[in-house]
Symmetry: C2
Subunit: 235 residues, 2 copies
DNA sequence: ACTTGTGACTTGTGATCACGGCTGATGTAA
DNA sequence: TTACATCAGCCGTGATCACAAGTCACAAGT
């Protein structure tokens, strides 16, 4: 076999490849943002044509965007073949949390061995910002928390796991806006401090333990508040 | 709030709900089968129009099927916006195997507490069939092995985790057909026996350990054979 | 008053067409 | 023979249209 290698496109002249973004990708991003932002009410039926009109496109790109989100389990396909934002149940939330403990624990442990000083500094800054803006609303808290976690997982260099975790957060995200939990409790931030300490010492086991605690403690709090909510609504 | 419950559709007259399968779902199933069967060569460009002609439909259903498979990471989107079966690398295989150990270990542990006698019997039968038809070709072995694992995970009642694991197997599947590894070694079957024993005793920790060993030992063997293959090809 | 059948309207699905980008072969000039 | 411009064909993308299934409301019948 001679040198018939595929023409690998390497970055030349320091020029970034300028991407042509397709309409259905834009539509995907837009709908995803709406989902994560808590704008879309769970159970509310989403029609393709309505979304297309709102986005100013034909039905085509919206169709593909929705289908992708269904494949990522961010949206649910009803028997009518229309899609909805699925309503979160306690069982589902519990299962997702257990998966997160397992997967994000693995990533934290891996990250501890690979994290650079630069990444560590960025995480510390994010954590400080979370503390200083502690009671500035749930939305802001959730965004900073996600950034902190994803910065950590980025350091693990596990692209496959990363995209799985992204779909998990995408499923949980919209739900967190609708649950009345007091985030920003010092308890949660304590775990983030533990993560940072463990990373600084390159202690994988400790980092894993801290992330596992962070996830499962938060999940427990939310589950409790969820049960209180539903027992109120039941009367 | 009065009795305005949603009209739950219960099976009446003993009639099963007849499902309308859409063309893009059929296309999805067909392409997926081709991927898992090892029919499609990695790196080979797949054109929408060619697939549409092969399936006897227009490009529309194929488009959606491919996009879904891309979302599930079974196919890859090239910069040209065409799709391919991604070539497996040692790094990627290693990462996926680590994710599998973590996730399928969790599911095995959960399954141990929930598995019914019926499910256990079915798994034993599958295992015996694997032993008896041990050297009846790689394809048969892989199919039985997958059935064994999925029967186990089914018992865990974790639908979210299940669909994640399915996408992982979908990524690994086509690769296993092209790697020249001697499957069906007694070592692998030993782990399956351990799983069955642990399940019978409802020992979650043991079940997890056996599955973890099964996955990581197989992964190691494949990785070794992969390295031998690539060092041969490099000369 | 309640049920049931009918109609118009909406929705998802799939086919077809048009357009721009990319690829590869052909022809021309050095 | 080699290098480069050109052009034709193919590919993905998106718009539009046709169609069948589904939904909802109104009215007729019990």
């Amino acid at each position: 076999m001679v040198a018939s290698s595929t023409p690998q496109e390497r970055p030349a002249f320091g020029l970034a490849r300028l991407e042509r973004e397709t309409l259905h990708e834009r539509a995907y991003d837009e709908v995803k943002k709406a989902i994560m932002g808590g704008t879309i009410a769970p159970g509310e039926p989403m029609t393709i044509r309505a979304l297309a009109k709102a986005l100013g496109t034909s039905v085509m790109p919206v169709r593909e965007a929705l289908r992708r989100l269904v494949a990522e389990r961010a949206l649910e396909l009803l028997p009518n073949r229309s899609v909805t934002l699925p309503v979160m149940t306690a069982e589902k939330f519990d299962e997702i949390s257990r998966i997160r403990v397992s997967l994000e624990g693995l990533m934290a442990e891996t990250a501890a061995k690979l994290v650079t000083a630069d990444e560590l500094k960025r995480m510390s800054k994010l954590n400080e910002e979370m503390i200083s803006r502690l009671r500035q609303g749930t939305k802001r808290y959730l965004a900073l928390n996600q950034e902190f976690h994803f910065q950590l997982y980025q350091a693990a260099h596990m692209p496959q796991a990363m995209s799985i975790v992204e779909t998990l957060w995408l499923q949980i995200g919209p739900f967190l806006h609708h649950v009345s939990t007091d985030f920003g409790q010092p308890d949660f931030l304590k775990n983030h401090d533990q993560v940072l300490k463990a990373l600084a010492r390159r202690d994988g086991a400790k980092a894993r333990a801290a992330i596992e605690a962070d996830i499962s403690e938060a999940a427990q709090t939310i589950l409790d508040s969820l049960k209180a909510q539903s027992s109120n609504a039941a009367q």
